[in-house]
Amino acid sequence: MTPLLTVNNLHVSFHSYQGEIQAVRGIHFAVKPGETLAIVGESGCGKSVTAQTIMRLLPSTAKIVQGEIRYEQQDLTQLTEVKMESIRGSQIAMIFQDPMTSLNPTMTIGQQLMEGLRKHLHLNKRLAKKRAEELLSLVGISNPHLRLKQYPHQLSGGMRQRVMIAIALAGDPKLLIADEPTTALDVTIQAQIMELLKSIQEKMGMALLLITHDLGIVAEVADRVMVMYAGKIVEHGTVDELFQHTKHPYTWGLLRSLPQLKQSREESLVAIPGSPPDLLHPPKACPYVNRCLQAMVICDQTPPELTACSSTHQVACWLEHPMASKEHENRAGGDE
């Protein structure tokens, strides 16, 4: 199947007074129609910047240094702003982390929902209203007729995120980018919203690029996962491969910081010690070397390339080199 979206060697930098912040440093990935690709990684690793680059919604201080973003036949990095406006919302839509601040407080739900409908589907007011009600029902909001006339502050956080999803669906997009869609919500609501996203994705057959730092969510909803670290991809594979055949020590670290069912209360979660490198002066070699328990001499000298371990599984780590000791594979069994 030809991919819907292909990102090739993407580099994105911010200009600041201290210099160039290299937020994204050469990433490659593809999203196929209808699939769910998750991007995981610690905060600050470049997930949101990647999403905003695809939507071309970067702040003015940011620049796409190189790379291409292929969507259908076109390179999104080269499109004019006007062209891009016809893609946003209708081909690629996005929902954001905080539903409390992502809706305009002075416009009704209906007004905000109908904007996209009128722009992309060219509906008249009456039809737009009808479609808006349908969308609200679709995202599980009861009494849509009444809700259309309400303002965001009259809705709970979970409801607002549902409205955000409805807004994103308005243009019938083929790809939905969800940037930490449940992080700001109550734990009980999180599951509902994820379920909703999943069922809508199936109903509408769209691809989902799901950004999260919650590996639990990934295990449940994603087809494939991409682990980012310091603006690079360190491991990339199907959910099975990543959870069952974990290769990269960083992915390991993330998995071990998950709460476990059989874990006793006294055992605290093991967060990975140390912190990611400064993206003003990113290291030439492996960015994870300072925190890696299995670091070798070469790790501090030459950056590891992303290499394939199967047709779908890739990892950027020197431990995968044929000459590296295979001792760590045993550790992957899980016993300390």
Partner: protein, 310 residues
């Protein structure tokens, strides 16, 4: 809402009563009397005039008389203009003041708003720097200095507009311009700050993500939210225009309330001072109330909360 407005109106009445009382005793404690050439008047004529205006009575009697008149909507008679009705004079002079005042505010809001929007959209570019320096100048130059300069250069030296007096539309331009400068300065800063903040909000990104054009985003999502808080500065700006008008009217010889107020203080025209004070106080209080109502009307968060509270 009705209850809220009623409560505000009652509060306004009490405030007004206090203002009138304070002003009454303050003007009467000013040195001098309303009579011109007091020394040259024969004592019996002087007494007769004072008697005619009730000024020979003890102060508290005068106070209650005045207040009694107020309830019958009678502001009394002017002392300097040969016993003319104060209410009548206010009516005649209101138009001139209101005209240059409203025109001044309007010019100020349009130019100030425009400059503010441009500087928010082009932060750090020349238009932003230009607007910043303009507003620093505008805030620091008092309107009467500007009025004097305008009258001299535009009016006298270049002869583009009449330097003073009243009669045609051309006469209203320079007074309004002098008044508008402070409004331009303050309002442009205000709009810039608000709009910059609003444009950084998450919901602006949502609007962009829908595929709306930049112009539509700024217009529909940016400006409305930026202008809601800006409505609150309309109150202070109105006050600003009112105080500015006192001197500006005098400089350009506008036959308005401001000039009347200044003259009446200089001449110890007690009733005229009180009349204009009452008028100005009412004007300010009513505009503040209207602005509060307007604010609640534009901002749905307040509107709905108010309704629910009833």
């Amino acid at each position: 809402m009705t209850f809220y407005i009623l409560r505000r109106l009652i509060l306004m009445m009490v405030t007004l009563l206090l203002i009138i009382t304070a002003t009454f005793f303050l003007v009467h404690s000013l040195p001098g009397t309303p009579l011109k050439n007091e020394e040259k008047l024969p004592p019996e004529i002087r007494d007769q005039i004072l008697h005619e205006y009730g000024l020979d009575q003890p102060l508290y009697v005068q106070y209650f008389r005045f207040m009694g008149g107020l309830f019958k909507a009678d502001l009394g008679k002017s002392l300097m203009y040969d016993g003319r009705d104060i209410s009548q004079m206010l009516k005649e002079r209101f138009f001139a003041s209101a005209f240059i005042g409203f025109q001044g505010i309007l010019i100020g809001l349009i130019i100030g708003g425009g400059l503010g929007i441009l500087s928010a959209l082009y932060q750090g570019r020349w238009i932003d720097n230009f607007a910043t320096s303009t507003s620093v100048l505008g805030v620091s130059i008092p309107s009467f200095v500007l009025a004097g300069l305008l009258s001299f250069w535009v009016g006298v030296k270049w002869g583009i507009l009449p330097p003073a007096l009243w009669g045609s539309y051309a006469h209203t331009i320079m007074p309004s311009l002098s008044l508008s400068v402070a409004v331009i300065a303050q309002f442009s800063r205000y709009v810039r700050t608000e709009l910059v903040e609003v444009l950084n909000q998450d919901y602006i990104k949502t609007a962009r993500a829908k595929g709306l054009s930049k112009a539509a985003v700024i217009w529909r999502h940016g400006l409305r939210n930026a202008l809601i808080p800006a409505v609150t500065v309309l109150g202070p700006l109105t006050v600003n225009i009112l105080t500015g008008s006192l001197v500006v009217e005098k400089i350009f010889g506008v036959p308005g309330m401001g000039a009347l107020f200044v003259d009446s203080i200089i001449n110890n025209d007690y009733t005229a001072v009180l009349g204009t004070t009452i008028f100005y106080s009412l004007l300010i209080m009513i505009s503040v109330l209207l602005i509060d109502i307007l604010y609640g009307w534009i901002d749905p968060r307040i509107r709905v909360a108010g309704r629910r509270g009833e």
